[in-house]
């Protein structure tokens, strides 16, 4: 409990400082000026998203290999955390595009890929919602999760190839051209902050899922005991 409070305070401080750094300390970018600072949240959310989905992939494989419930819990926690990060990425994209390009959305490679990943892992969560039996839910969603992760590089590559054939306004044009050292430091700080938040959120969701499982087991236990009165008598006499 103490550790939780300490880490929450630490991450909250990180968030505050990272935000301050991104908004005020980082130097102004040449062409886009202030609005470019969204990049300090946009890119880290992408990194956090990808990390979360990698966790899902590992958890899915581990579940199929070991059948231990904790891996299924990690899988759903990672998927939800990843979808949250993805939502953030999709929300900050238009907030960048609008002032810079005058449009809310563009089908450039990165945004399109993010959108498809969002749909993919949303489907993962929907699939779980529609499966009732817990073991089937875990097994089948693990299989789908593995397929989804294998699709990620394909989605990325196909969109890159496609969009270089039909050039579109590139939103992140600025960051590829050698980053100013202060910018790199601010970026690193923001990456750590966003990753920290994602990990905290993921672990909490994991804890929630495991508690749910414990709840179900207890409920089952009570049901079986109320159906077998003789076992209660045995317990009393023991």
């Amino acid at each position: 409990m103490k550790g939780r409070i300490a880490s929450t305070v630490f991450v909250a401080a990180l968030i505050f400082f990272a935000g301050y750094a991104a908004l005020f300390i980082a130097p102004d970018e040449k062409t886009m000026h202030a609005i470019q600072r969204i990049f300090y949240f946009h890119l880290p959310s992408w990194i956090a998203m990808f990390t979360a989905f990698s966790v899902v992939f590992v958890a899915n494989i581990a579940y199929l290999a070991t059948r231990k419930e904790k891996w299924d819990a990690l899988g759903v926690a990672g998927a939800e955390a990843g979808v949250v990060c993805c939502t953030i990425g999709l929300a900050t994209g238009p907030l960048w595009a609008r002032p810079v390009w005058g449009i809310w959305w563009t089908w450039d490679a990165r945004l399109t890929t993010t959108f498809i990943l969002w749909l993919l892992y949303l489907s993962y969560l929907l699939l779980r919602g529609l499966l009732d039996d817990p073991e089937k839910k875990a097994t089948l969603s693990a299989i789908f999760g593995i397929f989804a992760f294998l699709d990620v590089p394909l989605v990325y590559v196909s969109n890159r190839l496609w969009r270089t054939q039909h050039p579109q306004p590139v939103i992140l044009g600025g960051n590829d051209s050698g980053l100013d050292p202060t910018m790199s430091k601010v970026l690193l700080l923001c990456v750590i902050a966003v990753m920290g938040v994602m990990i905290i959120v993921l672990l909490d969701r994991y804890r929630l899922e495991r508690l749910r499982h414990e709840f179900e087991e207890l409920r089952q236990e009570i049901e079986t005991r109320s159906l077998a009165p003789s076992s209660i008598l045995e317990k009393e006499s023991a």
Partner: protein
């Protein structure tokens, strides 16, 4: 029983089942036709626009019709628990899965065999000279569609709302395939047709990745 022999027998069963009534095939062909026709009402394309959007339309029709056609693949095993019977037989899970994949591939190919000439007539797109390369693109695309679609049919057959779930799971996964197939087809329907190797490689890569994944995971898919 060896896997190939089991596969052959199961494939024959799947084909026989379908060709007895041919209802799935006919429904799918008509549905794909409806999509193709609807497009002309919704967009009223000029000849140039047909040329430009044709490949996209064709593959959208195949993907949508395919996602509906793939549903019964495992869904029909739920009634009478016939999948349990298959599991108890001395055949590998891979034989069961790949027989269905092959059957679906054949069905989908038949649908495409009907749709492509109809499409070329309705939208005045010439296919002379590119038939062979077009078939290659169609085959690669259909493999990807039926491999992933059959696996997801198995997955969604256990879930509620399976008719909606299957397209929902399948279509996002298939976006690389859609991009590759549409671009490859488009490169063949221009004045100077030249099959773009990049897209063929993408399609082949897609097929290999998911065929391998299906093979590795088939036991978990078909299990109890």
């Amino acid at each position: 029983m060896s896997t190939t022999r089991a596969m052959a027998i199961l494939l024959a069963k799947e084909l026989r089942l379908e060709f007895r009534t041919r209802e799935l095939l006919s429904a799918t062909i008509v549905f794909a036709l409806v999509i193709v026709v609807l497009f002309s009402f919704a967009f009223d394309p000029t000849a140039a626009e047909s040329r430009r959007y044709g490949p996209g339309l064709l593959w959208i029709a195949f993907l949508f019709a395919g996602s509906l056609m793939l549903n019964p693949s495992f869904a029909r095993e739920q009634t009478n628990d016939t999948l349990d019977a298959l599991r108890m037989a001395p055949i590998s899970a891979f034989a069961i899965l790949s027989a269905k994949m092959l059957a679906n591939f054949i069905f989908m190919s038949l649908v495409e065999l009907v749709l492509v000439p109809v499409f070329s007539v309705l939208y005045n797109v010439s296919l002379t000279g590119v038939a062979g390369r077009l078939i290659l693109v169609l085959v690669l695309g259909t493999i990807g569609l039926t491999v992933t679609g059959t696996v997801f049919s198995a997955i969604s057959s256990h879930a509620r709302m399976r008719e909606l779930l299957l397209p929902l799971l399948l279509l996002p996964i298939l976006t690389p395939l859609l991009i590759g197939a549409v671009e490859a087809t488009a490169s063949l329907l221009v004045d100077q047709p030249e099959l773009d190797r990049t897209w063929v490689a993408l399609l082949a890569g897609f097929d290999i990745v998911f065929l391998t994944a299906s093979w590795l995971l088939c036991d978990y898919l078909i299990e109890e």
